[in-house]
């Protein structure tokens, strides 16, 4: 482990390959420690409401378990079902041997200064694991909450779907309503083992001057399925995220869906890269982005390394009230017999569609809102109902900001 620390130390000033550079020293690493929370309903109402906007259900009625972190402290962690574990990563590193087989095994500490920071100044994070053969159909929820003004939150998450298991996670990130400025660095490592199914839905609900640098890497084994969804519809200063997924086993599938809204002053640089490294693997990267004054860069990269693999990239962008929309789809086939395609479009709402709805009695404004809602309503197959409901709610809530 010493050498990882050395590597991280050497990379501590290394700029990221893409996205605006951030001065890490302008954020504070000191925060008050928060007390343990046994019952989620005892979290102050104002904070609870903010967490709810990022998908947290304090009643836990339709949740398999919960992890909540406030600033640097894991305040709640527990599973409500058999066959699934939720453990704060610091505790796991102290008490569980096998965690060393996963910790920093996919992500590299010296990728850039953000991975280095998460290595050198780890605060906490969650380990969620579905045991072999266990089908956990209710989603587990996690909330990473930023409460201290100007704070730099560093988390590391490890998600493991053991062989033949099924696991759904809704991971929400939010900031307290009084917070204007902050930095969130999040490392996530995903392990989808043989014939396992994992869906991971990240909902962001930050503030206008918050900077976000997630660093995620996933691996999918034979027959595994990984659904990765990212939803960011609220103002945020800058997000730069480019998760990488390796499909290493025969028939492994990865699908990534992003729903983005860029508000004035927001800069979203979001995309994903999927490596098709085994026979019959399939990948899909789909993005729907709307800017109403923000700057959105939607990326995607699919690399086919063996014959008989298939991949599709799709990015549809709408410019509603100014802003910049860029789509950068990339495909790379390294052998004969790969099938890769992409489809990208940047445009505006068709006048014809607005008039069609107006002739059914909607005002121009209602018609526009209806079309925007439809644009963001992507059918994501394989999600359990409570998760679908959470995504629909996020789309619904975005209406105010979009219009």
């Amino acid at each position: 482990m010493r050498s990882l620390d050395d590597m991280a130390y050497k990379a501590k000033d290394k700029k990221a390959a893409i996205g605006p550079d951030i001065d890490l020293d302008s954020y504070s690493l000191e925060s008050a420690t928060h007390a343990n929370v046994k019952n989620l309903k005892t979290i102050p109402k104002e904070d609870r409401e903010r967490m709810t906007l990022a998908g947290l259900d304090a009643s836990e009625k339709e949740r398999a378990g919960t992890y909540v972190q406030r600033d640097a402290t894991a305040v709640h962690s527990g599973s409500n079902v058999d066959g699934m574990e939720i453990i704060p990563i610091k505790k796991a590193l102290e008490e569980i041997d096998w965690i060393r087989d996963y910790y920093w095994k996919l992500a590299s500490v010296d990728t850039d200064k953000y991975t280095a920071r998460a290595r050198l100044d780890l605060q906490d994070g969650y380990v969620i694991r579905a045991l072999p053969g266990k089908k956990i159909t209710l989603p587990a929820q996690a909330c990473l909450y930023l409460e201290k003004e100007g704070f730099n939150q560093n988390v590391h998450n490890i998600i493991i779907a053991e062989e033949g298991s099924e696991l759904h996670i809704i991971s929400g990130c939010a900031s307290a309503s009084h917070v204007t400025r902050g930095l969130h660095v999040g490392i996530s490592e995903f392990y989808v083992k043989k014939d396992a199914k994992l869906s991971f839905t990240m909902i962001h609900h930050w503030a206008e001057d918050v900077v976000v640098r997630p660093r995620s890497v996933g691996i999918v084994e034979k027959g595994g399925l990984f659904l990765s969804n990212y939803i960011s519809m609220k103002p945020v200063k800058s997000v730069q995220s480019y998760p990488t997924i390796y499909l290493v086993g025969k028939g492994a599938v990865a699908r990534s869906y992003s729903l983005l809204v860029g508000s004035p002053g927001s800069e979203l640089d979001v995309g994903g890269r999927i490596y098709l490294q085994a026979k019959d693997t399939r990948a899909e990267i789909i993005a729907r982005a709307i800017t109403n004054g923000g700057n959105i860069m939607s990326r995607g990269d699919i690399i086919g390394e063996v014959p008989g693999v298939r991949g599709h990239l799709e990015c549809h962008g709408l410019i509603l009230n100014g802003g910049i929309m860029q789509a950068i789809p990339e495909l790379k086939g390294l052998v004969d017999g790969v099938e890769l395609s992409h489809e990208a479009a940047v445009g505006k709402i068709a006048q014809e569609e607005i008039l069609y709805l107006m002739s059914r009695g909607l005002t121009e404004e209602e018609a526009t809102a209806t079309i925007v809602r439809g644009f963001l309503s992507v059918d994501i197959p394989g999600l359990p109902a409570p998760l679908k409901a959470e995504i629909d709610r996020a789309v619904e809530l975005s209406q105010k900001d979009v219009m």
Binding site: A350, Y356, S359, R360, R373, S377
Partner: protein
């Protein structure tokens, strides 16, 4: 009542309607004939209020109000609706939601859809990948929910297969409060007295005449009304001598 007085319309610099006069009484349905490019669709779109159809002269009155410069949605709320020939598809907007939009509130979408044999399409995005006939059924389903007083139909039978043509015809009759007169001789007078719905139907093939008994027909030719009369007689003439002759003899 719909009254169109000396209507002149341009798209860009092109005159598409020249001094058109037309009246549709409450309860009355008229058929609009004319070759391609004669101005039939332009007339419907102008009545509906599409902004690219610029009214350069004349006016349109509906229910006693001058609607010439009203927006589309104002006209829709006043009771005018249209069945499009090629409506746009809207990604992510479910047909079910579209029917609810038309009804502006509570509506039993499933029951309405059953009548159009369209339930299996309710969870599909509106018009996305619909065939010609499916589009027509979808349009009529929307109009049933909208419950319009004046309904404009742009070639409602085009692209419809033979199995569904009678469904389309009967639905139009229903929307216009008409019953199939051959089957319901005794009730027709009664129905006529109560009838208030107005209709204006463009037909190219004339198939719709087998189902809908319209009160009047008119022929548009080169943006002008070239003739009026019994719709069945007009259609016979057109079949026999063509539009050009028909327009000439009627003029």
């Amino acid at each position: 009542m719909l009254v169109i007085e000396d209507l002149q319309v341009k798209i860009g610099n092109k005159k598409v309607l020249k001094h058109v006069n037309l009246e549709i009484q409450p309860g009355e349905t008229q058929i609009l004939f004319g070759p391609n490019g004669s101005g039939k669709t332009s007339l419907l779109m102008t009545i509906m209020g599409y902004p690219q159809y610029k009214v350069t002269g004349g006016r349109i009155l509906f229910k006693g109000e001058d609607i010439t410069h009203m927006t589309i949605d104002e006209r829709a709320r006043l009771g005018i609706g249209i069945s499009y020939q090629r409506p746009p598809s809207i990604q992510g907007l479910k047909t079910r939601r579209m029917v609810q939009v038309c009804a502006n509130g509570d509506v039993d979408v499933d029951t309405l859809a059953d009548r159009m044999n369209f339930r299996e399409f309710l969870e599909r995005d509106i018009n996305v990948g619909f065939s010609g006939g499916e589009i027509k059924r979808s349009e009529l389903l929307q109009l049933m929910a909208q419950d319009t007083d004046l309904t404009l139909f742009d070639e409602p039978e085009s692209g419809v297969d033979l199995e569904n043509i009678s469904l389309i015809g009967n639905t139009i009759n229903h929307l216009l409060q008409r019953v199939n007169e051959s089957q319901h001789c005794k009730t027709v007078k009664h129905a006529g007295r109560e009838r208030s719905k107005m209709g204006l139907i463009i037909t190219h093939t004339g198939f719709i005449l087998d189902y809908v008994t319209a009160d009047k027909g008119l022929v548009l030719y080169d943006g002008m009304v070239a003739g009026r009369g019994n719709p069945v007689e007009i259609f016979k003439q057109i079949k026999k001598v063509g539009y050009m002759e028909c327009a000439r003899c009627a003029a």
